[in-house]
Each structure stands twice: as C-alpha cells, then as structure tokens.
C-alpha cells in the first residue's frame, strides 16, 4: 500500500501554490516539503491520516492494500471506458470488501467502507453474473476492480458531470437534462487535468476555507505530480476566490469552478460519474 509518507520521498517533486493562482515548484526533503506544503498551500489544509485496515473479521483481506485515494494499486484492471457515463448505478460497501482484478479472481485489494472520513461510494461500470466492476479511487488512473455482487448497497445517481478541458467547460446533467454549463479553470499544460472516466469521491468542508468552502475530490490523480501539498495528487472540484481564473488552464490538475457551479455540484451524490475529455 502506498501512502503520502512513502510517496513524498526525498528529492521528489512537490508542488505548492497560493490562492491567487500563482504556483511554484520546489525541490526539497520529504519532511520539510510536507510540513511547508501543509502550512502554505492554498489548495488544501492538513492531509488526511487514512484509516488502517477496517477489514475486521477477515484477516485474509486485512493484509491487502486498501483502495483509497492514497494507494497505488498493482495488478488491477484498467477501465476500458466503453460507456463513459455508465448507467448511474453507484455502490457503497457497508464493510470492507475484497477487490479482484477479474470476476472470481483472487482479491488484490480491499475497498474500505469509508473514504476521507465519509462513506465510500463508487460507480458500477460493468456487471457480470455474481460480480460488479467498479471504478476505484486509487492510482493508477482508471483503476477498476471486481467485487462480489451483494456485498455493496447500490443506489442510482441520475447525475453526470462532464468536463471538456480544451473548451474549459463543465456541464452538469440530471436524468439527461442539462442543469448548467460553466466556464472553469483546468490544469496547466505541464500539470494537466487527467482525461478519462472518474467519479466524485468525497465532499469535504475545510475548517479554514482558504480558497473554497467545499472540496469535492474525485477518483483521479495528477499524472504529472506524484504528490501535491502533502496529499497524493488527488484531483478535485472546488471554488476559487478570483473569477479571472475561469476559462484558463492554470491549475495543477484540479478543476476550479464558479460558486454557483460548486453549489450545484454539492448536491451530486458521491460515486457519480465524471467524464473528463480533452
């Protein structure tokens, strides 16, 4: 299992930035980098202490890596992305569940019931008899896993979020109907917002809303930054104080959205598919 402490190795490139949109790249020792980043970053506060195994009662799966935003999973199946939006089925494990690379295959990870302090919800992207394939919130981008059917509570999200990084546009749809389209800020050319199918992973309300009252991390991670501000390089939707950034490719991968877009996105259930194209 990978976590932030192992990712932020000495000499590893660590990015920090300020709320005004300026950014700087620094090379520094891991401990100093994490400490400094935590103090000065405008894009996040203290990083999460991700939970230890919650696979209580099942020692076999307790030894497997947890599929959280901090993990870099090996031997998982890549998302084919055949149907970008899926059918809206989202799933919540009520306890840690084993994740296999193939239907019926041996477990390669576990999906915990909590993610960043809230309930884990993931989109179901494929179903086979007795098995459900879900998108995972871990690296590498597009990581998927098969979970035995009946192990998760399923629900339906009528929402779909679409981001066109070239057009710098975000669209929110509910039951196929547009709820709005907004001009947003996306990743800069050297730190692009990763394209592909992901999902809204969590809804966080920082104690100090330095740049946004709400952070909506998604399952995807920056492809160019292994770590950011002490975090694992997780991409997110969030607001931004300066409206001038909207329409620009200036972020480290996150998608900065106007306040009314954030207000609408706040209502979108966790696990809802997010389709990012460029």
């Amino acid at each position: 299992m990978s976590n932030r402490s192992t990712r932020a190795r000495i000499g590893r490139r660590v990015m920090v930035h300020t709320p005004v949109g300026g950014s700087r790249s620094v090379m520094m020792g891991a401990v100093a980098a994490v400490t400094l980043a935590t103090l000065v970053t405008g894009c996040g506060g203290k990083s999460q202490d991700h939970p230890s195994s919650s696979a209580a009662g099942n020692p076999a799966i307790g030894k497997l890596p947890q599929a959280t935003t901090f993990a870099n999973l090996k031997n998982v199946a890549k998302d084919s992305g055949a149907d970008a939006a899926g059918n809206g089925t989202v799933a919540h494990p009520t306890a840690a569940v084993p994740v296999s690379a193939t239907p019926g295959g041996p477990p390669v990870a576990t999906l915990p019931d909590k993610e960043l302090g809230g309930p884990t919800w993931v989109p179901v992207v494929e179903t086979k008899p007795g098995w459900q394939r879900v998108l995972l919130p871990s690296r590498p981008n597009g990581a998927t896993g098969w979970i035995p059917a009946g192990k998760m509570h399923t629900a339906h999200s009528p929402y779909v979020v679409k981001v066109d990084t070239s057009a710098r546009r975000l669209s929110l749809l509910k039951s196929g109907q547009s709820l709005g389209t907004w001009t947003v800020a996306v990743g800069a050319p050297k730190t692009p917002t990763p394209a592909g199918r992901t999902f809204i992973m969590a809804s966080l309300a920082p104690a100090k809303a330095t740049y946004s009252p709400l952070i909506l991390p998604v399952g995807a991670h920056s492809e160019s930054l292994d770590t950011f501000g002490g975090g694992p390089g997780t991409v997110a939707f969030h607001g931004w104080p300066q409206k001038s950034v909207f329409g620009q490719a200036v972020t480290h991968g996150c998608i900065r959205v106007p306040a009314d877009a954030l207000q609408q996105l706040a209502k979108v259930p966790l696990g809802t598919p997010v389709s990012i194209s460029n």
Binding site: S23, A37, T38, T41, C43, G44, G45, K46, S47, Q48, T69, V90, L116, G117, G118, W121, P129, G130, P148, A149, G150, T154, A155, H156, S157, P158, G187, I200, A202, S203, L204, A205, P206, A207, Y211, L214, I215, P217, H221, S222, L225, F228, G229, G231, G233, T234, V235, A236, T251, H252, G253, C254, R256, A266, K267, V268, P269, L270, G271, T272
Partner: protein
C-alpha cells in the same frame, strides 16, 4: 380395464426412475432461502417424484453441476443436464431429451435437442431447439408462459408450458424452459425441464443520497 392397465403401465414406468434418481441425487437441495439463486435440470411431482436434478444454489457449493445422463429408465432419457447458480444469476440446460418413449408408444411424447432457462437479475429467458410434443413442433421463440395442449393417445390432453416465468413471493423469479402437465389416474403429474430462479430485479435502486460534507480537508491539486 384396458385403460387401467395402460395407466398402470404409465405409472409403473413413471415410478421406475424415482428410485434411480433418488440414488443419483439423494435429496433435492433447498432453493436457498432469501434471495439466493438456484437452478435444476429436471424435476417431477405428482404420481412420480423426481428430485430436482442436478440442483444448485448460490448459497452452496459447488455453484455448477453437470450430470451426463440419468440412469437407464423407460421414461426419461437425456444426454446432459447442466446447472449453475451464483448471486443474481442462474441457468439450466438439458440436451437430447426424450420423455415417455417406451411407456406410451414407440414415438416420444416429448423430445427436444436442447431446452435452456436463464435468469439474470430477475429477468429470464429460455431457449428451445427442435422440441416436439407428440410429433408437433413447438415454437422455439415462444413468448413467456406460452401454453399448448396436445392430445396424446393413452394420456388425453398433455399440456405444455414453454418459457414459463413466475414471480415468487420472496421477490425471486423462476424461469422454466418447459413444463409438461398431464392428468393420470385423476391426479396431476408435472415434469419441469430446465428451471432457473434468481433474485428479483435490483434494477430500481433508490436514488443515491445527497452527500453531507465532512469537516475535513485534503491537499488536492488546486
């Protein structure tokens, strides 16, 4: 008197495989309670009882079973019975089936090259290949619960239901590829071929909840 003799012969023939089948499959396993999936290749109830053979349930192992053939008997002949049941899905197939060939007449009452039943997420389908009832071809792509009655010499009307689909009280659905019913000695005899049961459609899950923001933070890629 002649009639009684004929029925007696039929019942005798029907009774024959009971003991044999009981040896092959000691007991019909439970269908698994709750929303478990289950399947079996053949069963009979009435004057003749054949346990569900081979019976599988998603709540037990193994999840698949195959039987090459039933022991030799004058009533039912077949080549392969195959069943499978996992959560939310079950299937059954019977190959080269002949029923009551020797007991009734030189011609089979019912013959089929293949009869299958598949249940997936509470929705079912069946497949019939070259099925003939007393020489009459039965439509392969029959709509659910299609029923025909054909007079068979010595048996009267033999009723066949193909692609039978029943929604059970526990929310499961049962698909039976073909069910044959006949009145013998005033009692009903039912033989079910290829039956698959699975949990009712989880197709209409409730709407996912609106998230409650967690008082927390994560350094994200701004």
């Amino acid at each position: 008197m002649r009639k009684h003799l004929k029925y007696g012969a039929i019942v005798g023939a029907l009774a024959a495989p009971v003991a044999v089948a009981a040896i092959v499959v000691p007991s019909a396993s439970a269908t698994g309670g709750g929303t478990a999936s289950s399947a079996f290749g053949i069963s009979a109830s009435g004057l003749l009882t054949i346990p569900q053979t081979p019976s599988v349930s998603s709540g037990a192992q193994p999840s698949t079973k195959s039987v090459a053939s039933l022991p030799h008997n004058p009533l039912v002949q077949l080549s392969v019975l195959r069943t499978k049941a996992v959560s939310g899905h079950s299937e059954a197939s019977v190959v080269d089936l002949k029923i009551a060939k020797a007991a009734i007449s030189p011609k089979a009452v019912l013959s089929a090259k293949l009869i299958t039943a598949t249940c997936d997420g509470g929705a079912g389908s069946s497949r019939l290949v070259d099925v003939r009832l007393a020489g009459h071809a039965i439509q392969a792509g029959a709509s659910p619960n299609s029923r025909i009655t054909v007079p068979v010499q010595g048996l009267g009307g033999v009723q066949v239901t193909v692609n039978k689909q029943v929604h059970n009280a526990d929310g499961t659905t049962t698909i039976t590829g073909l069910e044959l019913a006949v009145q013998a000695l005033g009692k009903s005899q039912v033989i079910a071929i290829s039956s698959a049961t699975c949990a009712g459609a989880p197709a209409a899950p409730g709407e996912a909840p609106r998230p409650s923001p967690v008082p927390s933070d994560l350094p994200v890629t701004g």
